[in-house]
């Protein structure tokens, strides 16, 4: 895939603009979802996702194979989203409101087994909103997008050890939110 992607990009740089549609098609989902997490607004997410792909196209000469295209694209998207959120009012992360998650469940279940038995993606998705931006994106890139530690480091502009730390702490915080009832 990486080698094929390299050839595809070489084709685009040679003047075949249509070939870029393949890359947009391939990565529109994770980029659009990144923007949706950042802005909580579909129109803004669509605008930012488009801007990300257009900016990446304009800067394509700076992309350096054999690194994968997606982490490079993600970095551009993250920078655009951060700029947007500096200027606009974006959803705040890391401000989880406290409430008892067991209110609607069997009160005899202990917190540990509650997480293991009742954990579903919807709850985790909600809990992710409570994480600081870098923790949330590091966890998503690792387990949802399946990027390597090095690729996560590149995507977020941090060191590899920084990426490991954010993932670990991100998971610990998620567990805390889910088990202690800190879920909005």
């Amino acid at each position: 895939m990486e080698n094929s992607e390299e050839r595809l990009i070489s084709d685009i740089l040679a003047g075949n603009a249509d070939a870029y549609g393949i890359l947009v098609e391939r990565y529109q989902r994770p980029i659009f979802n990144l923007m949706l997490r950042m802005t909580s607004n579909k129109e803004d997410a669509l605008d930012l996702a488009q801007d990300t792909f257009v900016r990446a196209y304009e800067k394509l000469e700076r992309y350096k194979p054999p690194a994968r295209f997606f982490p490079w694209l993600y970095t551009i998207g993250m920078n655009l989203a951060r700029d947007f959120c500096r200027k606009q009012k974006c959803r705040q992360t890391g401000s989880v409101k406290i409430f008892d998650a067991r209110e609607d469940s069997d009160s005899t279940i202990d917190p540990g087994s509650y997480v293991v038995e009742r954990l579903d993606s919807k709850r985790v998705e909600k809990a992710l909103e409570g994480l600081p931006l870098d923790y949330r994106e590091a966890v998503i890139l690792r387990f949802h997008e399946d990027l390597s530690m090095k690729e996560i480091a590149v995507s977020l502009g941090i060191s590899v050890s920084g990426a490991k730390m954010r993932i670990h702490r991100g998971l610990l915080r998620l567990r805390h939110i889910l088990t202690e009832g800190n879920l909005k």
């Binding site: 992607e5 603009a17 996702a49």
Partner: protein, 215 residues
């Protein structure tokens, strides 16, 4: 669209001690749930909107011939001089490609289109698009359905290739990339606008030699 759950082995690798030291076992279900989060569907016009905002990059080290064959013609006037020039170029192309086509013919069985008489004209479609997983030929000859018109990747030549038989006539066609994006043939001599703001390539099959590649 729901993500496919990652295998235990893959997840084990993600959670290995050298990556995440002192990992508690109860973090595993959380990682699994993150892997299975449902993505929101991107708007259907995202790809189209992006593509409408970009222009082809300035070509590097391209020859005049390369530029000529990759620039679709929207309209042209036929003059005796032009006709003679086109005839000469076509003659050279047919001569040069006959060796290559021999090879393709040996590797690629020519399939008759449903409803096409056995004396249909053999045509070989070729398309240069590395890095994609599948390419189909769709057109007015198959009612724009990709079924049975999957191109084969020729590793040696770096081309997608499909050999079929078609009846004599004039057809519109395009290449369907990965089942999603439709691209006109960059080597087509003629193109035509459709009613949806796109361009289709034109192939005219007459007496065994088409503008595409008759065998």
């Amino acid at each position: 669209m729901k993500r496919i759950r990652r295998s235990d082995r893959e997840l084990e690798k993600s959670l290995s001690p050298d990556i995440l030291p002192e990992m508690d076992e109860d973090l595993r279900p959380i990682a699994e749930a993150v892997a299975a989060i449902e993505d929101a569907e991107p708007p259907a016009d995202l790809v189209e909107s992006v593509m409408s905002r970009i222009r082809p990059k300035k070509k590097r080290r391209v020859s005049t011939i390369w530029r000529y064959v990759h620039t679709p013609l929207t309209s042209f006037t036929i003059t005796p001089l032009r006709l003679a020039s086109v005839g000469a170029v076509l003659g050279l192309i047919i001569l040069a490609s006959s060796f290559v086509l021999d090879g393709i013919q040996r590797k690629q069985p020519i399939r008759a289109l449903k409803g096409t008489p056995l004396n249909g004209v053999p045509v070989v479609f070729t398309f240069h698009m590395p890095g994609v997983s599948k390419v189909d030929v769709v057109g007015s000859f198959n009612r724009w359905s990709p079924d049975g018109f999957r191109m084969q990747w020729d590793e040696k030549r770096g081309l997608w290739v499909l050999a079929v038989q078609l009846e004599r006539g004039r057809y519109e066609y395009a290449f369907l990339i990965d089942g999603g994006v439709m691209i006109p043939d960059p080597k087509a001599v003629m193109v035509q606008n459709d009613d949806f703001g796109n361009q289709n390539s034109i192939i005219i099959i007459n007496g065994g030699i088409s503008h595409e590649k008759g065998i």
